[in-house]
């Protein structure tokens, strides 16, 4: 780890004023310190934001829920309103990491998790995300855990968060504060595909800080499921995960949301796949058809071809589970 200066501002504007090149905000630190110890990141200044008043969970005017950026993952997962109205979010959070990490990790920080690509973590190897222009070692290397959708020749990394898959399905908004004031970023626009700038995971501007995540009023509490498939029963990143939300009406699907994790540089959604479900009976054949649409452009690498079929089956399973309420 490289040495860094440390400041702990007491107010938001003070924190924003400290931001600048070489500075980073720290809250839970579970991924930032991890990467600093590996020399992947070398900030010169850490701005400790844990003193900021961003710990509330409160209803919004339109019936949604505003979650402060510093709310821990554990606290969020067990919050009564979340359990009652957004059970998908709770389940997704609890499918990730460990109780210890969930006690530390913050809501805002979870959105900023970096990929678990082996090459990104190992500074002895090339990686465009870590060192733009150095090349992508994963593309022709070990890529069993890598992307099948939306990848580029420069980067085939996936986003590792479970919580974000749920937030993508729920169509949350990311509330950010910056030098230009506050703005709300629809979740689908928050994370980026790698393209030729894989070092940029998201669309935050320099100096901007996530202050909250806003959930819309609808939580699909009756018909939701989060399915995570990984290489061991717990405490591992997803090979594929699926957040499925359904709204049923008279035995037919009125609305459907499918977000897939572990397959792309961001939680993957496909409106065509979701639209295809509208008006269909909630049966496996409909789910298969939607999965086929969602995966139509999937591109396998040398070792991750299985993810295409796995994702297809996970989508079908998650949608099936969602009908029953999502408790398998």
């Amino acid at each position: 780890m490289s040495p860094f200066a440390y400041r702990k501002p007491a107010a938001l504007d003070e924190a924003l004023a400290l931001a600048g090149p070489g500075a980073r905000f720290i809250a839970g630190g579970t991924n930032l310190l991890d990467l600093m110890k590996q020399d992947v990141l070398r900030p010169k200044l850490l701005i400790d934001i844990t003193g900021l008043p961003l710990r509330g969970i409160a209803p919004t005017g339109d019936g949604g829920l505003l979650i402060g950026a510093l709310v821990s993952n554990a606290e969020l997962a067990r919050h009564p309103e979340v359990l009652r109205r957004y059970p998908l979010l709770s389940r997704a959070i609890l499918a990730g990491a460990s109780p210890q990490l969930r006690n530390m990790a913050s809501t805002g920080g979870n959105l900023l998790q970096r990929t678990r690509c082996y090459y990104f973590y190992d500074t002895a190897t090339p990686c465009n995300k870590r060192e733009p222009g150095s090349g992508c070692a994963a593309r022709d290397g070990l890529n069993r855990i890598h992307a099948i959708l939306g990848a580029s020749e420069h980067c085939v990394a996936t986003h590792p968060s479970d919580m974000c898959v749920a937030l993508a399905a729920l169509e949350a908004k990311v509330v950010v504060a910056g030098p230009e004031g506050e703005r709300r970023i629809p979740f689908a626009d928050f994370h980026r595909l790698p393209g030729d700038t894989p070092h940029q995971d998201n669309n935050l501007e320099d100096g901007e800080l996530i202050t909250a995540v806003e959930l819309p009023p609808t939580g699909f509490a009756s018909h939701c499921a989060y399915l995570k498939v990984r290489d061991r029963a717990s405490y591992a990143f997803a090979l594929v995960s699926v957040a499925a939300l359904l709204e049923l009406d008279g035995g037919l699907i009125r609305e459907a949301r499918i977000a897939v994790g572990g397959v792309a540089h961001k939680p993957w959604r496909d409106s065509e796949a979701e639209v295809a479900l509208i008006g269909q009976p909630p049966v496996e054949a409909s789910f298969h058809a939607a999965a086929d649409i969602l995966l139509r452009d999937a591109q396998p690498l040398a070792h991750n071809g299985f993810k295409i079929e796995l994702a297809r089956r996970c989508i079908v399973r998650a949608l099936s589970d969602a009908i029953g309420g999502g408790r398998p």
């Binding site: 090459y119 070990l142 290489d231 717990s234």
Partner: protein
């Protein structure tokens, strides 16, 4: 008169339990002193080539950095291979840390940065710039199988004519199994703390399975007087073989201490735990020929393993195939492919974990071909003698393992057809396998002493890597002396104590336990002599067999009232001491001695998603007399957990273009977590062995894992109808 229950066979709580649950037990990196310096290792990013330049200027400019050590400025080291050979060395030319500019594998230490704090050392290490000249490397075993050479291993001679027997068999199975590189990953990373004593001698706390192995290695390599180097390992946070050879952190820490004349600690990071020994990747080819009734006619087993360019690592992979079943036509072969990697290293049940994975999967395939129950096939081919050696077993209760294990598991209800059992999304499968491990005994020494305080102090240089040595040896000594365990203190983990072999191969109870027992007998004999020679002694003219040691007293067997307190015999003088060098009983030579097991496994496989869960395991073990059923059961449980990891999860992934392990952390190198482990039941079958050693006890450190991966793979087949012949059985292989 109260009957004293012998502590042998009792489920005694670990005597070191309190120190471990309160955080008081100190491991190698947890000793300190004012002014202790910290070393951080810098590893090579290339797999083969040489170092052209090391620029340490930026690192040395950091205040608090004392040294950037490399081959350029290291202290003098021995120049001959022999000096680097340790008690577990493989054949060849051992790796020499920081010796010269040659790079032999990716991750090889190229520099050590020594600073006032661990944080400074790590930061400064990131400022050291190394320039390499890269050469082409090869790390892929499977691409180089034709280049394999015969392993320097003494295999049992071929018997009969395997090829002819296979050709003439009614049924023949020919199969290939693959296993990946696995790393030990004890939870405590390797570390060495070298404390320079006021007289200049070295007190070293090392993570090792052999304090004397580390001591002699250091003395040989640096030309030091063994009297001035003491290596301790009071607690070892797991090892599983990783501590059988002195690892490079020890060499580097000593180098820095010698160079600076100061105390230095070097603790490896988790990724660095992937930069020395490991279980080698193997390709195994088996041919089994059987008569229509399933009786084995011929067997051929070839294993090809990877090794380094500098050493030929060998383990017992194929031997088991010549001894577990009765078969008169057997051909065993073992070959190695040298690669640009570090030398492999013994890892829990070295060789057997691999060989029996292949053999027991092949037996399952044969059972399917014959269309009989796999347990039935094994009973049909039961070996009463070890045909490899042409010797009877000193004891072998494997039949009881099969029977009792099957009964407890409910094996008789198993449908023969795969894909017969289902529960919702899940297919259920039952598989089994047998296991075997040699019951070794090595020479070992121990010392016993009794002082006026009535405490029996026993010691040996052995270690306790979690196996329960402290506890078992306390029980052996207490039993022999008729003392309650509270009055016995056992010391270990110190090279200055009586000689002990490396702690490995499940041989500690057998080797050190025998020495402890004999030391106690010798001490009893001395006490008896004193008692006998006292004027008017009630013991005059008696032999040791005619007296009894119990509750700290010596008494006549024929007249228990004639007794004397042992403390009276010693008085207030110096403690009475006895030291012995124990050797395996020559009676062993006429026999083959082995521990056996039968493992029964239930798996549940999500049919659509390929997820495999091991829901139930019964492991029945025949290991002679069990010294402590509580800690021994734990050993087997641990072995089963290892077997589950081996079957389903563990694999160190190497990028062959870079020649580098890439999942070198505990997030991506998967070992089982709590949620992976279902019910595990352990049975110990009765097995009396009067030959193996006076305790009648065989070791259990390895046998728990042997066969488990095969049983899981066989259960997966039974559940799904799919044979996955490549470990680990990750879900992608079942989609």
């Amino acid at each position: 008169m109260t009957v004293v229950r012998s502590p042998l066979g009792q489920p005694l709580d670990r005597v070191d339990g309190v120190s471990k649950v309160t955080g008081q037990a100190r491991y190698a990196a947890e000793f300190t002193e004012p002014g202790l310096l910290h070393g951080c290792v810098l590893g090579s990013r290339i797999a083969r080539g040489r170092i052209l330049a090391i620029d340490a200027e930026d690192a040395m400019d950091v205040a608090g950095v004392h040294l950037v050590l490399s081959h350029r400025n290291r202290p003098r080291m021995a120049a001959d291979d022999e000096s680097y050979e340790d008690a577990d060395a493989a054949e060849g030319s051992p790796f020499r840390p920081l010796y010269d500019e040659r790079i032999l594998y990716s991750g090889q230490p190229v520099a050590l940065v020594v600073a006032d704090t661990p944080e400074l050392a790590r930061y400064a290490a990131s400022l050291v710039h190394v320039e390499y000249e890269e050469e082409a490397h090869e790390t892929d075993l499977c691409g180089l199988l034709e280049h394999a050479h015969a392993a320097p291993a003494k295999l049992p001679p071929a018997r009969g004519d395997a090829d002819a027997a296979l050709a003439g068999s009614a049924l023949c199975i020919e199969v290939e199994y693959l296993s990946p590189v696995e790393h030990h990953n004890p939870l405590e990373p390797h570390a060495s703390t070298v404390l320079v004593q006021p007289d200049g001698s070295l007190l070293i706390h090392d993570k090792t399975q052999g304090t004397q192995n580390s001591q002699s290695y250091i003395c040989q390599v640096f030309g030091l007087d063994p009297k001035r180097v003491r290596v301790c390992a009071a607690f070892v946070g797991g090892a599983f073989g990783s501590g059988l050879r002195p690892q490079y952190q020890l060499t580097l820490a000593v180098m820095a201490a010698l160079k600076l004349g100061r105390s230095v600690r070097v603790a490896l990071s988790r990724p660095q735990m992937f930069t020395f020994g490991y279980r080698p990747r193997t390709v195994q080819r088996l041919r089994l020929g059987a008569a229509a009734n399933g009786r084995l006619q011929g067997l051929s087993h070839l294993a090809i393993g990877q090794t380094s360019r500098f050493e030929d690592f060998t383990e017992h992979v194929v031997e088991w195939s010549g001894m577990l079943y009765q078969c008169d036509n057997v051909h065993l072969d073992y070959r190695l492919v040298p690669l640009d990697v570090h030398t492999p290293l013994d890892m829990r049940a070295p060789g057997a974990a691999l060989g029996l994975y292949a053999l027991e999967c092949a037996m399952d395939e044969l059972a399917c071909a014959v269309a009989i129950d796999p347990l039935q096939l094994r009973l049909l081919n039961y070996a009463d003698a070890n045909q490899n050696e042409g010797k009877p077993f000193s004891s072998k209760a494997l039949r009881d393992c099969y029977r009792q294990g099957a009964e407890r598991f409910g094996w008789s209800r198993r449908p023969l057809e795969p894909r017969s059992l289902r529960d919702g999304h899940e297919l259920i499968g039952w598989g089994m396998a047998g296991g075997v491990w040699e019951a070794l005994q090595m020479p070992a020494s121990a010392k016993a002493s009794l002082g006026g305080d009535g405490i029996l102090r026993v010691s040996s240089a052995t270690t306790d890597i979690g196996t329960g040595t402290y506890t078992a040896m306390t029980q052996v000594a207490a039993a022999e002396f008729g003392l309650p365990v509270e009055r016995v203190a056992f010391r270990l983990g110190d090279s200055s104590l009586p000689t002990a072999p490396l702690q490995g191969g499940s041989a500690t109870v057998s080797s050190v336990g025998t020495a402890v027992q004999q030391a106690c007998v010798a001490l009893k004999s001395k006490l008896f002599d004193i008692a006998r020679q006292r004027p008017g002694s009630a013991f005059a003219g008696l032999t040791l067999e005619q007296v009894c040691f119990a509750e700290g007293r010596l008494s006549r067997r024929d007249d228990p009232d004639q007794a004397i307190e042992l403390s009276d015999l010693i008085g207030s003088g110096a403690p009475l001491e006895a030291r012995v060098d124990a050797k395996p009983d020559p009676r062993r030579e006429a026999f083959s001695s082995a521990t056996h097991s039968a493992v029964f496994v239930e798996v549940r496989v999500d049919e659509a998603l390929g997820r495999v869960r091991v829901s139930r395991v019964v492991s029945a073990v025949a290991a002679g007399r069990v010294v402590n059923p509580k800690t021994t059961r734990s050993q087997i449980l641990g072995g089963v957990v290892w077997g589950i990891g081996m079957a389903l999860q563990e694999e160190t992934l190497i990028d062959h273009r870079l020649g580098r392990y890439m999942n070198h952390d505990l997030a991506e190198y998967h070992v089982p977590v709590h949620a992976d482990i279902g019910e595990i039941e352990v049975l110990f079958v009765e097995e009396e062995d009067l030959v193996v050693n006076a305790l009648g006890s065989k070791g259990v450190g390895e046998i728990g894992i042997v066969g488990v991966a095969a049983a899981v793979a066989n259960a997966v087949y039974h559940a799904t109808g799919r044979r996955v012949r490549e470990l680990p059985i990750t879900l992608d292989k079942l989609l």
